[in-house]
């Protein structure tokens, strides 16, 4: 059973615990495998680190690197079919090896608070958030029902929730992303645990909300608590971490003082990770190592370029209203105008609910605007009847965030790509087959990939197929709706490089939508900042990002976590 003393009332003390041993967590030669007991598939391979009280350790790595599994080992939540083996695994001097579920239960919530990503799915959607927070208290025998309720309201107020009494009685789906995440954090901090583990705490959040949540975690650290921050985002990490451990393939490839690791990365993988982060400095540069811009233009059957002075896509005063389930009409897009020049990229940036996706759907003519008009090559587009539009549909294609859900899982890559080819443009079946080969080559896939199905491809390969599919009909415009948001940073770098290569070679224009300001600044020529359905600011990317005129844009930019690299190279801004 628990050897820790039970704090009667967790009023967060500011003084450091009177413990001579500064080391809170000691992990040596940790191995975690899954599956068959005799021959488990290794996921964590000999990880060692120590964490001193009051410090923040960031574990950085891409999906599948074993960073989450490492963190879960500390609270014994690696799951039923896992096998954990370690030379040493000590929390506050206590051996965690061989600890049973009862032992771990006493630690969870009490000594270690665990915050998972995306509170929408990490809080029970059927219960009010107040009950979830009270649960943490109840499980460790804290207080009575009434005192717990008071404590819940107090905790919510402490994590910066306005009107805590009301929020405590609401379900996650009734709360904004920021409030939800705060409630989740409150449930992890309820008993003021010594160690707080946050697994991708800001990944699904808008930048401004992300900034608030990071401030909250910083405040926790300032109270003397110890933090483990797990993230794939180096920029987020660079702001808070004292120590950094970089994980790849289940091993820590580099670890040490945060500033040292960021300034002088020793391992090639760390350097690749740092270079892959898109930002204003990376404009005009390649983000991924390897393949040079050697895209050969094959079979681009584009007719002689139309008048270059006419914008390829022009929207004026778009308005779209929706009636919500409560019967109230909301204006989702409110007077949005933009011009997308031929061969250029227009970045559309905004937080969730800003009308980005609705604008994209109007540009794709999938949603009819209630007001305003979109012209394609100077001719009517949004105003056409669907029958008239069908012939021109091939000129505008789309890439979505999650290609997996936009592919029929039973179709092979070949069939997905053939489906996009105009029947009249190809003489026979063999010509279409050749075109599929060309498309695969364009996006850097091998010919053997044509027989695979989407599930047999990696996330990056899938997004390449999605790009090939968008290129199939030889479009003038590709609408990219968060095309890299679901990808790891190194894969994101490759995909962004590919998009830029293709634009240079094929002259295609992008309407590029993202919530990630770094990505937008990296790739866009012009930028459109949306908030609550309105255009807040627009102009050339460097103007908008370097000299924002509007308070909203300024606040948005201030909230972006920036990679803090002492002595990092300042790239000459291209363009």
């Amino acid at each position: 059973m628990s050897t820790t003393t039970r704090r009667s009332a967790p009023v967060w003390p500011t003084e450091a615990p009177a413990d001579l041993d500064r080391t809170l967590l000691r992990v040596e030669d940790l191995h975690v495998g899954f599956g068959d007991a005799r021959d488990p598939t290794p996921v964590v391979k000999g990880v060692s680190f120590t964490l001193e009280r009051g410090r923040c350790l960031a574990i950085v790595g891409e999906s599948g690197s074993g960073k989450s599994v490492t963190a879960r080992t500390i609270v014994g939540l690696t799951g039923g079919r896992s096998h954990v083996r370690a030379g040493r695994l000590e929390l506050a001097g206590r051996d965690l090896r061989g600890l049973g579920d009862r032992g771990f239960r006493a630690i969870r919530g009490q000594d270690v608070g665990f915050i998972l990503q995306d509170a929408l799915v990490s809080l029970d959607p059927l219960r009010p958030v107040g009950r979830e927070i009270a649960e943490a208290l109840r499980l460790h025998g804290w207080g009575t029902r009434t005192s717990r309720h008071e404590k819940v309201v107090e905790l919510l107020t402490q994590v910066g929730v306005p009107d805590a009494e009301l929020v405590a009685s609401q379900r996650p789906d009734e709360l904004s992303g920021g409030l939800r995440q705060r409630a989740l954090i409150a449930s992890a901090l309820a008993l003021d645990p010594e160690l707080v583990i946050a697994d991708e705490p800001t990944t699904a959040l808008d930048v401004t909300v992300q900034a608030q949540i990071l401030e909250l975690l910083e405040a926790t650290k300032a109270r003397g608590r110890t933090l483990i921050l797990i993230s794939h985002d180096l920029a987020v990490v660079s702001r808070m971490a004292d120590d950094i451990a970089v994980m790849q393939g289940g091993e820590i490839v580099e670890q040490g003082d945060a500033r040292e690791v960021l300034a002088n990365p020793r391992h090639a993988y760390t350097r690749a990770l740092l270079d892959a982060v898109p930002s204003e400095h990376s404009r005009g540069q390649r983000l991924s190592p390897g393949r040079d811009a050697a895209v050969s233009v094959i079979g681009s059957a584009r007719a002689a370029a139309p008048d270059a002075t006419v914008p390829v896509l022009e929207a004026t005063d778009l308005v779209k209203r929706y009636r919500g389930p409560d019967g109230i009409e909301r204006t989702v897009v409110d007077g949005v105008s933009f011009r997308l020049e031929r061969g250029k990229t227009l970045g559309v940036v905004g937080e969730s609910g800003s009308g980005k996706t609705t604008t994209a759907r109007i540009a794709l003519a999938l949603t009819r605007p209630d007001g305003g008009e979109v012209l394609l090559d100077g001719e009517p587009w949004s105003g056409l009847k669907e029958k008239e539009r069908r012939a021109r549909r091939r000129q505008v294609s789309v890439i979505y965030q999650d290609p997996l859900s936009s592919f029929d899982p039973r179709w092979s890559v070949e069939r997905i790509l053939r489906d996009t080819l105009a029947p009249e443009a190809f003489a026979d079946d063999a010509a279409r087959g050749r075109r599929v080969g060309e498309l695969l080559e364009l996006v850097g896939l091998q010919d053997e990939h044509r027989h695979r199905r989407p599930l047999q491809l990696s996330g990056g390969q899938r997004q390449r197929v999605a790009i090939a599919r968008a290129l199939g009909p030889d479009p003038a415009v590709i609408v990219c709706d968060e095309p890299v948001s679901a990808l790891d940073v190194s894969i994101q770098a490759q995909v962004l490089d590919l998009l830029e290569d293709l634009q240079r070679e094929l002259g295609v224009s992008y309407l590029f939508i993202s919530h990630d300001l770094g990505v937008i600044h990296h790739i866009s020529d012009h930028v459109l900042v949306l908030s609550k359905g309105r255009v807040v600011e627009q102009g050339p990317a460097d103007d908008v990002f370097r000299r924002p005129q509007e308070p909203y844009t300024q606040a948005l930019l201030a909230a972006v976590p920036r990679l803090q690299r002492p002595g990092s190279r300042t790239a000459a801004a291209a363009d």
């Binding site: 939540l77 919530g109 998972l116 799915v121 959607p125 789906d173 608030q212 389930p325 409560d326």
Partner: protein
């Protein structure tokens, strides 16, 4: 916080809440109206089916009374036609039938010469008791089995899901006879002929409940296992909750949702199952009435039972809709 202006308003404003509340009675009214529509459709269907069935109804009634099967003269038929209104136009008869229904009159049994409502109300008690105990029993079995075995090692969960597949496919008739032979005749734990008491209810209710439990268990288990994979379950575990606590307090609530939906349908199915079970266990109830009425072509009584089943079905589904919102309050907002 420099950026606090951008987010974090407590949702939703009061005006919106008020509006959502006002719309609620309207939604309930629509539900009830559509339920009445279903009943009307059932009534109309049974009425027209019985009027297009081959054979003259007056002849049928006389032959039934006398035990003969011969053609009757017009003089013999006239009083019967007069009494039951068979001479009226179909539209008039339909009008009478609907008016009767609204006043709670389902007509008079051809055979027993009693109002159908009287016959049904005398027999419905045991049948309702049987079906509802069976439903409750099925829920208890399926939930206990799911909570105890889902994701608890390969052996436990395959044995349990194997049990569910096998039982879901068992015919009531066969299961009833087996239970009767084993527990009533061989072991003599229960009476052979089900009386009205609790002991007499056990075997018939089990006969109905076991196949349904297998069926409900399958859907509950699937949802339960899916819920155990959700991040909020890991969150609850990370707060220090025990495995059983997570199962009962979090996963179960999500897992019962599909079973609730199916229960509306299941209640209708249990009614038809009850007919067989009542015969096997020689229990009082609507089963015997329905079999006798159907074999004697006592059309008013048969359609009365059909209407009753439709009514039970409609009410059950209204309850299901209401219950669903209680378990998953998100739907109350959006629907």
């Amino acid at each position: 916080m420099s950026t606090a202006v951008l987010d974090d308003r407590p949702a939703p404003p009061d005006a919106q809440l008020l509006r959502a509340r006002l719309r609620r009675p309207a939604r309930v009214a629509v539900r009830i109206l559509s339920a009445l529509g279903v009943l009307w459709a059932a009534a109309t269907f049974t009425f027209f089916v019985q009027s297009v069935l081959p054979g003259d109804r007056a002849t049928l009634i006389i032959n039934q009374d006398t035990g003969q099967t011969i053609e009757r003269s017009a003089a013999e038929l006239a009083p019967i036609n007069e009494r039951f209104g068979f001479d009226d136009s179909l539209v008039t008869q339909y009008g009478h039938y609907l008016t009767g229904l609204v006043q709670g009159d389902l007509g008079t049994s051809y055979r027993l010469k009693q109002p159908v409502t009287t016959i049904i109300s005398e027999q419905i008690g045991p049948t309702l008791l049987l079906t509802f105990s069976a439903l409750a029993l099925a829920w208890i079995i399926s939930i206990a089995l799911t909570v105890a075995t889902a994701r608890r090692g390969r052996i436990a969960s395959s044995v349990a899901s194997g049990f569910e597949v096998v039982t879901a496919a068992l015919p009531h008739y066969w299961l009833g006879v087996i239970l009767l032979v084993v527990f009533a005749i061989d072991l003599q734990w229960f009476p052979v002929e089900g009386g009205t008491g609790f002991v007499g209810l056990v075997l018939p209710a089990l006969t109905l409940a076991i196949p349904l439990a297998g069926f409900l268990g399958q859907v509950t288990r699937e949802q339960f296992e899916r819920t155990l994979d959700e991040p909020f379950v890991t969150s609850a575990r990370a707060r220090g909750m025990s495995d059983l606590g997570v199962r009962v307090k979090h996963a179960l609530r999500h897992a019962v949702l599909p079973a609730i939906t199916l229960s509306g349908w299941a209640l209708g199915a249990l009614f038809s199952g009850a007919v067989v079970v009542e015969l096997v266990f020689a229990r009082a109830g609507l089963g015997q009435v329905l079999v006798d009425a159907a074999s004697a072509r006592d059309i008013p009584l048969v359609s009365g039972v059909v209407m009753l089943v439709a009514l039970v079905y409609v009410i059950a589904n209204l309850i299901v809709d209401a219950l669903y919102v209680v378990v998953d309050p998100r739907l109350g907002k959006a629907a």
